[in-house]
Each structure stands twice: as C-alpha cells, then as structure tokens.
Symmetry: C2
Subunit: 212 residues, 2 copies
C-alpha cells in the first residue's frame, strides 16, 4: 500500500498546485503544500525525493516547474478517459460529476443493458452493453467505473476484464477482487459509514469516561 | 491508520458472515473468512485476538456466535442512522442506494437549500437546510454524508459540525479536514481514478519492457 499512498499524496499535491496556480501564485513551500494535503512536510519532501523532485527548502518550489514534473511522473499530461458501466442512479450521477472536470477526468461514455437508458445523443452518450468492446478499443480506454446492481457486478466485471479493462473503480455494493490483469478499487460506502460510526461512538465513550 | 484498518477488516468480516448466514451456513474457518475479505488468515486471527474473539483453529467459528460478538464490538446491534446534506445527483443517488439496506445503514432524511428539491413526503424525506439541527437532534444522529457542490462544501460542513455532527463522509469534490470534534472521511472519486490509471500505466510500461 505504500506505493499507492505515495502516489495518492503526489496526486493530491498536484490537485492543490493546480488550484494555487489558478489563484495566480508562483511559488509554494513544502510546508504549505503539506498542510493543504493534510500530511507532514517531511513526508511530502520524502515522496518528492523518491521521484527526484527537488526544491530549495528556503526558496520553495516554483509551481509551474513542480506541476509539469508531477504531470510527467503521474502521466497526467493527457486527460484520463473513463467509461461507466451501469447507468442507474449512481452511474448517472457520476456521468455528470462536476469534480471530474477540474482533475482532467473525462467520462467518454456510459453503458447499460436496459434499452430505456440508451441514448447515443446524450453528453456523455449511453450505449448498449454490446458496444462496450468497440468503444473501449476505439477510444483506447483501460479504466472504467462499475456501477451495476450487486447481483450482476461480478459477471459484468469479468466481461470488462476479458475486453481488456485494466483498472476498475467499483461502486457496486459488493466488494470485488482484482486479478493479475486488472486492478480493482472498491468504494464501499456502507463500510465507510460503519467505520466513521464506530470511531464516533468510541470518541463519545471516551468522553463519557472522562466525565466531559 | 492501523486501528481504522483493523475495524475495516472486522466490518468486512461481519458483512461476509451476514451473507454466509443467509446461505444457511453454521460454521466458518478463519481461512475461508480471510479469503472472502481478501487478507491473510493470520491477520484475521490477529484482529480477532485484539478484541478477545477466539475460535477453534481446527473447529472453526460458529457464525451466530461470531456475528453477535462482532455486532457488540462494532456497535452494530442497532441500525446506523445517517443524514444526507445536498440532494443533487450524487446525494439523491445515495438516498436510494441499495447497498445500504443489507448493511443496516438507514438514510433518515436529506437536506437542501434549493426549494425545488424539498419534499417532506418522499421516502426518505427531503427537508430545507434550516431543519437540519431539529431533525438531527430529534433522531439523535451524529453521522452525515456531505454531497454539496465544491464551492459550498466547507461552509456547510462547518454548520454541520457546529450542530453536533461527529462524522462526515464527504462526496463533495474537494477534500475537507476533520477537527477535534468531527472525523471526516473524504471520498475523492477523481483521485481514485487517477491512482488506478497511474498503476495501470505502470503495469503496461513494465510489460512492454519485458517484451510481452
């Protein structure tokens, strides 16, 4: 998980730098960047040093330089094209998610088996599932969001992987496993809520014992 | 993060056990449970031992016993009541998310500032934001989902925390920080996609070098 954590921090640094640039800022210090990302400055500098990103500790980093170096390292010099499989409520919400635009994520198309959801003229278009392989290959896309119901998720994921998808962000309410040819990241919303709830309760119990 | 990871694994074990019980199974071995959760059996046994959960390594665990012990430890003997603030596309999709029912998560109400989205007769109901404190206190809810646009997220989160919310699952496309009185878990969908994309590209580059 360590490599994944490093990349996550670098991606968050990149997102912060994009915003600072929009504000017209020219330079940034690792301390400020670390505070915005929510980690220690030492950790940010360590992550940077892994990829040979060096700045002047006193002088800070030039935002432009740092951004172009990060974009090169992270492969973010081109937009990230993504497909969505399953255009129910969650899938449709993600098709039009505003948070993607600023991060360079482009939803190219959605797919569904329900004829009523098909609309090739929508933006982004929704195609029948039978067109998945064709669109995936034509657009050279390797990453997709899975947002089908629980009972079809595993079967649909298998088909996506057979077609050549190499990374799946899974919103279906059942955790799926990746394999040698495909990474799967599960977004388990119920689990995240349960986790929060546990630590909230734990905090309240601690306060009660302290007689707060 | 270690305590959070342990709790996540226990919560995932619990979800698997619920499903095994529905299938009519009576006993389970730590190996099977670990495989279903996607971790090593040793780690599952270690997590269990932290909370005094012991089974017979040869005889396995009785599913009923293990579930009731896990429910007690995890505070899952009662449904987890949650509010949703921001009833745009993502918020509305989460209001009716099917994955919550099986995990005992109950969305009690949604809130929005847009009069067109208010509908107290819907299931779950959508109230004006001005009713947030009243509903939160009447239902004794301490955990909420935030799904507003980016530009209002920080301000709305502050109001929720002032009202007494102790845990926020944040779907707004901007990471928020928690504080001493509130835990925040950010679901950064663009970041997850960027992360997947990075490792997919890395895998492809490695394969190319190997001449596959």
């Amino acid at each position: 998980m360590s490599a994944k954590d490093t990349i996550s921090r670098l991606l968050r640094c990149r997102a912060v730098l994009e915003k600072l640039k929009l504000l017209g800022m020219v330079k940034v210090y690792s301390d400020n960047l670390a505070a915005a990302v929510g980690v220690s400055a030492a950790l940010v500098r360590k992550d940077f040093s892994i990829f040979g990103l060096t700045g002047h500790r006193r002088g800070g980093y030039r935002i432009d330089d740092l951004l172009s170096q990060l974009n090169r390292i992270l492969g973010r010099d081109q937009p990230l094209k993504v497909l969505i499989v399953g255009c129910g409520k969650i899938g449709t919400a993600l098709m039009n998610y505003r948070g993607f635009g600023t991060q360079g994520v482009r939803i190219i198309a959605g797919f569904d088996v329900d004829p009523e959801k098909i609309n090739p003229n929508a933006v982004p278009p929704v195609y029948p599932m039978d067109d998945f392989e064709r669109v995936m290959n034509a657009e050279q896309i390797r990453v997709a969001i899975l947002a089908t119901p629980e009972n079809t998720a595993a079967h649909v994921a298998e088909r996506m992987i057979m077609a050549g998808i190499r990374g799946i962000l899974n919103f279906a309410p059942i955790p799926l496993k990746g394999g040698p040819s495909c990474l799967v990241q599960n977004i388990d919303i119920a689990l995240e809520l349960e986790n929060l709830y546990y630590f909230v309760r734990l905090g309240e119990a601690t306060e009660e014992r302290r007689g707060k």
